[in-house]
Symmetry: C2
Amino acid sequence: MSFTTSEENYIKSIYHLQQETGLVNTNSLAAEMQTRPASVTDMLKKLKGKKLLQYEKYKGFKLNEAGKKAALDVVRKHRLWEFFLVEKLKFEWDKVHSIAEDLEHISSEELIQRLDNFLGNPAFDPHGDPIPDKHGKIQVIDQQSLSNIPLHKPAIVSSVSNQTVQMLEMLKHYHITLGTSITVLKRFEFDGSLEIKVLKQSNCIISEQVAKNVFVHDAQ
Amino acid sequence: MSFTTSEENYIKSIYHLQQETGLVNTNSLAAEMQTRPASVTDMLKKLKGKKLLQYEKYKGFKLNEAGKKAALDVVRKHRLWEFFLVEKLKFEWDKVHSIAEDLEHISSEELIQRLDNFLGNPAFDPHGDPIPDKHGKIQVIDQQSLSNIPLHKPAIVSSVSNQTVQMLEMLKHYHITLGTSITVLKRFEFDGSLEIKVLKQSNCIISEQVAKNVFVHDAQ
DNA sequence: TAATATTTTTAGATTTGTCTAAAATTAATT
DNA sequence: AATTAATTTTAGACAAATCTAAAAATATTA
């Protein structure tokens, strides 16, 4: 089964939303995709017709197994290309998302398998997100948000869940990247911001909003 | 100025045809692109509107300077990706064309410049065709068709002008690839076929049709 | 629970790129 | 030169993906 670029984009967005909320609704998908609810409804009919979606009118919707596999295929392509762009072409990690959005729709199976091998079958992309293997299998790691870890216990940045250019630029400013060691020194009651020590930098303060989107695992 | 995938495909095909014939006509472009003359006419209007084309109704057409630059941009992208697929992903050279047809429409300038550098700024693609630089400049080499070279004078394969899977499979069968040394031993009057010696192989015979599409330069 | 607000879907239009069939133009031939 | 043939363009239709505006369904609240 093959899909148009537009179908793939919808499938991917539904996948991401249903990870959060279980059932997805029309308006939130429209917001996510920067399109109109009416356009979403049109596409839902198409995807239901292709048997990728559990969908009853007015009731919300989610991908079925076939839909999830299709989504994981796109996610796999996206993240492999992001890895390629950063590791081989030396792009900065905040510049690769939009290019990978285009590359992910190239449809050759063999291309992706060869790319995967060429890159050394990486398990995580440059933002720390897991790269599904060809069967859709994902390696999970034990991580939690920086906003939840105890004080004075060093942790290693493992992924970043908000990947807007704005967010990634901010992290660059703080010299925070994947693998960076961070210790939380103080949590301010007032607005939830954190004083942190980034390895070999002087102390600094990050907002709760930033902290929530930075995921870490235990040091060592 | 940016172009749709469809516009880029037309621009590229017009470029290739006008290299051969100067002026291009509707039917031959339709044949080249496997589409209908009416569709060609529709696109010609668009491309004329974008000031890429010299075109008067019923009179034939060709790319102007802006059109040629646009074509060379696409050709550059196509050939760089072909080089990547063969050199880095280890595809066989007869398998890369259709994948590069998709990749060539990815539009990031920076992506292509970085890819070019990553590949070592190659001047020729895996079929021996020159890769335009970012200004559209092409390195020309002194080559001629295998069907025109004198007998008993070894020559080196520099490019192949017919790049169908069928042709490239045939060359693979003969163990002919870029850089292969070939000596023409005899030319048969009957059908123009050639007896040749491919370096370290026993003699064999190739048709005139094959010979015409293999280009060589002097040995050493 | 009736009225109001929100969400979702439908109906119909638009754009891009394609098509077929017919008309217009140009070329070839008797 | 007139007829025939070939080429090219126009006119109008269609599919995909989108949109706006209005209608339908569901949810909220007074």
